[in-house]
């Protein structure tokens, strides 16, 4: 109503938008990274790197409409890079070893939570091809739909469906279960 206004600097917009998104989803993103790379320090590094990178690019990205799927995709990409850097992509027992590596630092609570049965499941998951692993984590940890997973991984919903089915079947075989 005739009052003046204060233009919002672009840098402030970028900072605010990125900060809010990451603060609200920091825990979720670290957990997602943890399930992909296996250990918490690396997971935190991955999310921090994505945050730093995205912060610098946010204004140029014009604040994408689907920011959270975009950030999830960036975290998954960074996880792949981290795994490549560490030469861990071919380590069949990635998650299992990462859990074991973390054991000396883990709490008694962590030990109770991570029962042997759960370790077996995660080890079997780690033996799956990368895409199947990502699809299953997005489906059964984040609870995303096929369409949402397709958006994050930039593949078709049909590919998501078939990849999930094959991944589950392979997991069941590895765990000695009937599908």
């Amino acid at each position: 109503m005739g009052m003046g206004h204060s233009p919002v600097p672009a840098a402030e917009l970028a900072t605010a938008a990125t900060s809010a998104l990451f603060r609200d989803h920091h825990g979720e993103l670290v957990r997602l990274a943890l399930l992909m790379v296996g250990d918490l320090p690396t997971a935190e590094d991955v999310v921090q790197d994505v945050y730093a990178s995205m912060h610098a690019r946010w204004a140029r990205l014009a604040v994408p409409d689907s920011a959270l799927p975009y950030v999830r995709a960036a975290v998954l990409n960074a996880c792949r890079s981290a795994l490549r850097r560490r030469g861990m992509m071919r380590r069949a027992d990635m998650l299992h070893r990462a859990s074991a590596d973390q054991r000396p630092l883990a709490s008694a609570e962590h030990e109770v939570i991570m029962s042997e049965e759960r370790r077996q499941v995660l080890a079997a998951l780690s033996r799956l091809p990368r895409r199947r692993r990502e699809v299953l984590v997005l489906r059964y940890y984040l609870g995303l739909s096929e369409a949402e997973i397709a958006e994050v991984l930039r593949i078709s919903p049909g590919t998501v469906k078939s990849t999930a089915a094959r991944g589950l079947a392979a997991l069941a075989r590895d765990l000695g279960e009937d599908t």
């Binding site: 109503m1 003046g4 206004h5 204060s6 233009p7 919002v8 600097p9 672009a10 840098a11 917009l13 970028a14 900072t15 605010a16 938008a17 990125t18 900060s19 809010a20 603060r23 609200d24 920091h26 825990g27 670290v30 957990r31 943890l34 399930l35 935190e44 921090q48 790197d49 945050y51 730093a52 990178s53 912060h55 610098a56 690019r57 140029r60 014009a62 604040v63 994408p64 409409d65 920011a67 998650l95 883990a106 962590h110 939570i113 991570m114 029962s115 759960r118 499941v121 995660l122 998951l125 059964y140 940890y141 609870g143 995303l144 739909s145 369409a147 589950l168 997991l171 069941a172 279960e177």
Partner: protein, 406 residues
């Protein structure tokens, strides 16, 4: 769900559950002083001048855009709080940041004080906060972190800002359901006009979707609660029922604005499905199916927020528009609507922002529903009066909408 799926889901959530939010390293940003330069800019030093140049360019572009977008009539961008807060606007607002529940002056933004949190409470999940009609009493809710859709027990605490401006310690008022529902967070809360009851819309988790399909009403004097759970769920894609706003229309009568989400959307969902429903909460609990539709809001497909007042009006916030590049540059409009007929009575506020509409919201009302506040994670959060958005002066960006109350 097959046994393999059950085991996989359990193992993933157990592994993820080993991460404690309160023990995560804080993200290092440009204003945090926590090593941003060391981790980010220094390693990719060539980016710094480039980003700076981009930022300067965008500042200029956005300044022009803002000036150009200044509309006529009721349109006004956020203004700095050069004007005093009126006699009726709530004197304080709260925000939840860095694990602190902060109380600030609406007029100056200055920190009035903290509501001190115990170490036990710091380890719990903060659900939300709301103000009582006196504007000085606040009710906040925490609950233990849950690793699965297990049963949790939210706790309601209260504190006050005294006449001398002191913030009193938190006092436990009530504990919520330990069985029956599995709420995982609150999306809106409201204290009854007489200050005796607190209504809370709780978010319930399921295996593949989520609903805000539970309303808990606490008697703040006795701690007794009643639960309204389910009854309005619909399966549409991956999301379900969402309750946007709770407000008391009279003794024992609770109105709520609800919609059904069709697909995953970042902040808002259920365009075109919104309704205002009313529920007699004096009946002692049951199904949300007991509520009745007051008005259908399908004519507001771009609704991103709604607040009901106690005079039979709704304030409905919509965000629409795209710029020439196809990016969203929303025209934000807040209409006052007759809650009985859905008729637009007048435009309370309108302005075009160079922002993605998903970045707006929620719109908050004070306990009377008459005084509105808009939250945005972009430094334009503010309160509304006479068609002008008065930018909140302190500590932008306010990081968490659910820490806001006034």
């Amino acid at each position: 769900m097959s046994r393999t799926e059950e085991r996989l889901r359990d193992a993933l959530h157990a592994k993820a559950g080993t991460v404690r939010d309160d023990r995560l390293r804080p993200l290092a940003g440009p204003h945090s002083g926590r090593g941003w330069e060391r981790r980010g800019w220094e390693r990719r030093g060539w980016l710094a001048p480039l980003a700076a140049a981009v930022a300067v360019t965008l500042v200029a572009v956005l300044a022009i855009a803002l000036t150009g977008s200044q509309g006529s009539g009721t349109s006004s961008g956020p203004v700095d709080p050069s004007r005093q807060v009126g006699a009726h606007e709530p004197p304080f607002f709260t925000e939840f940041d860095a694990g602190q529940l902060q109380v600030r002056s609406t007029a100056t933004g200055k920190l009035t004080g903290y509501a001190p949190l115990s170490s036990a409470l710091r380890k719990q999940q903060f659900w939300g906060i709301t103000a009582a009609p006196d504007g000085r009493t606040f009710y906040a809710v925490w609950a233990p972190w849950q690793r699965t859709a297990a049963l949790v027990r939210p706790s309601v605490y209260s504190f006050q800002v005294t006449a001398s401006g002191m913030v009193t310690p938190l006092r436990l008022v009530a504990r919520g359901p330990a069985s029956g529902a599995s709420p995982a967070g609150a999306l809106d809360m409201a204290v009854s006009p007489d200050g005796s009851e607190l209504a809370l819309a709780a978010h319930t988790t399921h295996a593949y979707w989520s609903d805000t399909d539970t309303i808990i009403v606490f008697d703040l004097r006795t701690g007794v609660y009643h639960l309204w759970d389910g009854g309005l769920r619909r399966w549409i894609g991956t999301e379900g029922l969402n309750i946007w706003d709770l407000s008391w229309s009279g003794p024992g009568m609770l109105d709520f604005v609800t919609s059904w989400c069709a697909n995953y959307e970042w902040l808002y969902c259920g365009a075109g499905t919104a309704q205002v429903r009313t529920l007699d909460v004096g009946s002692g609990g049951g199904s949300l199916r007991a509520s009745t539709v007051l008005v259908d809001l399908g004519r507001f497909p771009d609704m991103v927020g709604a607040v009901a007042d106690q005079q039979g009006h709704l304030a409905i916030m919509q965000a629409t528009g795209k710029n020439s590049r196809g990016d969203m540059a929303p025209l934000v409009t807040i209409d006052q609507v007759d809650a009985a007929s859905g008729t637009v009575l007048r435009v309370l506020y309108q302005h075009k922002f160079p922002l993605n509409p998903n970045l707006f919201g929620p719109m908050l009302g004070d306990p009377s529903g008459q005084y509105l506040m808009i939250w945005a994670p972009t430094g334009v959060s503010g309160w509304l009066r006479d068609g002008t958005l008065h930018r909140l002066p302190a500590n932008p960006p306010y990081p968490r909408a659910y820490g806001f109350a006034w």
